[in-house]
Symmetry: C2
Subunit: 254 residues, 2 copies
């Protein structure tokens, strides 16, 4: 029987710029009643990766452009926040009251360029913002290298965020950084139960893993941004989350 | 520590129209080394629900309309299959070579109206097709009622399918039928770690659960269409998957 378990690890400290995330993962695993094994995947909320990389922006230091002011007038957001959003994006897909959806420089299509103002210390008034990591795949690979070196375990690493979606209500976890496992699983050419060749089954394994981890991570004040996933029979390989981004030339919903 | 486990249950028989799915769930749980407990969610692949409801169509009995022939000329699919797709849909969003994306009568936006030709007995040549259940929320509620009656356990039921997505490569599991748990979790008004009120966090719990289950279900010939999810602290309530469909008036990507 395939049995997978998802462990939300309590006791992760508040993360500061420069913090050693690999050390924190190893600590928090040791303090809970689990072990890091070969084939496990360590899933981290984007937020703690961004914090460790110091990806903060201070809205009071932002000078909004004319375009940011124009869009802010449409969506009703702070023009300085819109300026930040634009600086993280390669294009604006939709801007309507309450919503601005952009194509992030990483290829992600998402609201507010993934810029977050919740769960930041001293930010009850909303003056600070946290951007996505500069290169989440590189962050995942760095973190994995250190984890494997220090623990001796051949684990994978996933960095996840929660995004809204077209046509569906509610956010789901998606994978924005991956190392040590294939984020995209190509089943084309496999045979089904009755011998018919599968035509088009490519599975977004990294995103399914992210959604699963998000289910136990919690979004509000639970504070469990590290989840250990055990029992997945993922092939160890040099994966990355960029494979989950649909190429622009195949995008039917620009 | 929040720990959730996902158990893909081997030994599910081939499902025929009229089969008693609740009895099959209870059987297959008993034959494996798990128990059905209060708060568990039984996740079923859409395919076995459709099969038990006899949602087969025979392509040789389908007469394509002019519109189906026109669209088939664009996407390169069998005009009879396109006719079936149209009969299940309320609108066509995109039709390009190799792809037809519709809004299904259930509100789902998906390729081929969710009509599937793999894993059907005697279908190596592709003459048969399987449609989505008529009303997957109703199917989930019926199944849950029977399961609770016979097992005495207050479990939830989810019916899931694997769909492609805008902007992302690879399919992920989504929830098309739900009973006994809230498919959408509204966290608005909760406070974050530092006391800031969350503005917009509504979580697609049913879809995250579906993605998690899909991760262990397998897509090709593994044949494990029933997954037991244990340890989720979901509120037992009269949920349904229709809440996961974004209302047309809020759809920015028609």
């Amino acid at each position: 029987m395939v049995a997978v378990s998802l462990h939300a690890l309590p006791g992760v400290p508040h993360i500061e710029p420069g913090d050693d995330l690999a050390g924190i993962v190893i600590d928090v695993v040791a303090r809970n009643d689990v072990a890091l094994d070969d084939g496990d995947v360590v899933v981290l909320a984007q937020k703690i990766v961004s914090k460790s990389e110091g990806r903060y922006a201070d809205l009071s230091a932002v000078e909004p452009s004319l375009e940011a002011k124009r869009l802010a007038g449409i969506c009703g957001k702070d023009p300085r926040l819109v300026e930040l959003i634009l600086s993280e994006s390669v294009g604006v897909l939709r801007c309507v009251p309450g919503v601005i959806i952009v194509r992030h420089r990483l290829g992600l299509v998402l609201a507010n360029a993934g810029i977050d103002q919740s769960n930041l210390p001293g930010n009850a008034a909303g003056g600070r913002a946290l951007l996505l990591p500069l290169d989440p795949d590189a962050s995942a690979h760095r973190l994995r290298r250190t984890l494997v070196e220090r623990s001796g375990r051949r684990c994978g690493v996933a960095i996840i965020d929660s995004l809204g979606r077209a046509w569906r209500q509610g956010t789901t976890g998606i994978c924005i950084g991956a190392a040590g496992f294939g984020a995209l699983s190509d089943m084309r050419g496999s045979r089904d139960l009755y011998g018919r060749t599968l035509q088009s089954t490519i599975i977004g394994t990294g995103d399914e893993l992210a959604a699963a981890a998000s289910l136990v991570m919690g979004q509000a004040n639970e504070g469990t941004p590290i989840v250990l996933v055990k029992g997945l029979a993922l092939l160890l390989q040099n994966g990355n989350a960029q494979t989950l981004v649909r190429p622009l030339c195949e995008d039917l919903f620009q």
